[in-house]
Amino acid sequence: MGVAVLVGTRKGLFVLTSDDQRTDWSLEGPHLVGWEVFHAMRDPRTGTLHAATNHMVYGATTHRSTDLGETWDRAEGIGLPEDSGLTWEKSWHVEPGHADQPETLWLGGTPGALFRSDDGGGSWTPVQSLVGHSTRGEWNPGAGGMCCHSIQVDPSDPNRLYVAISAAGAFRSDDGGETWEPKNSGVAADFFPDDPFPEVGQCVHKLLVHPEKPERLWQQNHCGVYRSDDRGDNWERLEGNGLPSGFGFPIALDPADPDAAYVIPEVGAENRVTPDGRLGVYRTRDSGASWELLTEGLPQKAWAAVKREGMSFDRLDPVGVYLGTQGGSVFATPDAGETWVEAARFLPEILSVEAAEW
């Protein structure tokens, strides 16, 4: 058994592979030449590769491969209903459904839309309850468009789903996607000085459910890092305790330790590079009460940026964490962040990394 890191770039998909030591890496690709790969993953239930793909001329779609990238099929006809007045613009994230629903997948993207597939990603049906959500009029696009970038399925309950949309906030469904309730209590929207804690409109950058403790959620937001211990009903802001900034995009977790999380702060919304001229990853092991800087093996003269899908983690112990920079480097740690190696460099702009068994 080995590990793969699927690296989605502005110009195709690359695959890094290693054994369980995760120190020596081999690169292959690009796959999906000509396509911008906003996110790719290997479905742990089926082994199929799925990619959220976009082209500036030919629009947004998904591709899948059942032979580890040798051949790819494209889903056809992804679209939003005419009466919605909306047009499908970008495919951002494709997420496996619950383990009990092996043919179900979820696709999120712009404009703030979610799709469901019940045929393994061959076709996609828009989730009308989110397309026509009663609060949609209060949603606004972030700089990357109004993207539905985070989709999480509660491993303990196939009917409990989460999505996060920039800048609409986080939403939870307890009925398999039939209805959605905003879950933004305690999450700041500092860019609304007249109403900094609205029901919706928060700019979530990435939201994750802890895979072994699913009542615990983490999010990296435009306005801070947050944790929830009650399935998103309430959120606690976790900065001012070692983090140089609350601004950042990705967040990663440790499946074996629900109190651990990894973030990559940036100076701020107006200067989106890593602070102090270095590429630093910050780790908490006490649920966000404190954060420590990890630098061993990471460049100490660097003004890097890592996008919201640009960090991932594996299921090994100790956890491996992976990040990809806009400058085309992939860094990997096989020991929960203590040491890092550069697994690849000079790739096209990296839009996403996702770890998988290989």
Binding site: G34, M56, V57, Y58, G59, G79
Partner: protein, 84 residues
């Protein structure tokens, strides 16, 4: 019978086939018969704004013109300077 020529990425998505011969009365009918029609038109049937259509080497603004036997339709991705 008319001929439709595809650029390379569309040809790849069409299973490696860049040339189609088919019966169609208009460019709209011809393009909507292609297996990659969803990459040319959005979900509401609108031609994607950066897809340019040429008939016999002349760009056409309307896809409703009448085609003659032997006409050649060529799809060209618009020049998009500034986007790397």
């Amino acid at each position: 019978m008319v001929v439709v020529l595809l650029p390379s990425l569309l040809a790849t998505e069409a299973g490696g086939k860049g040339r189609f011969e088919l019966d169609a009365a208009t460019p709209d009918e011809a393009l909507k018969a292609l297996p990659i029609r969803d990459l040319i038109f959005d979900e509401h049937g609108n031609l994607r704004p950066l897809v340019n259509v040429y008939v016999n080497r002349a760009q056409v603004d309307s896809l409703d013109g009448r085609l003659e036997n032997g006409d050649e339709i060529r799809l060209v991705a618009a020049v998009a300077g500034g986007h790397s």
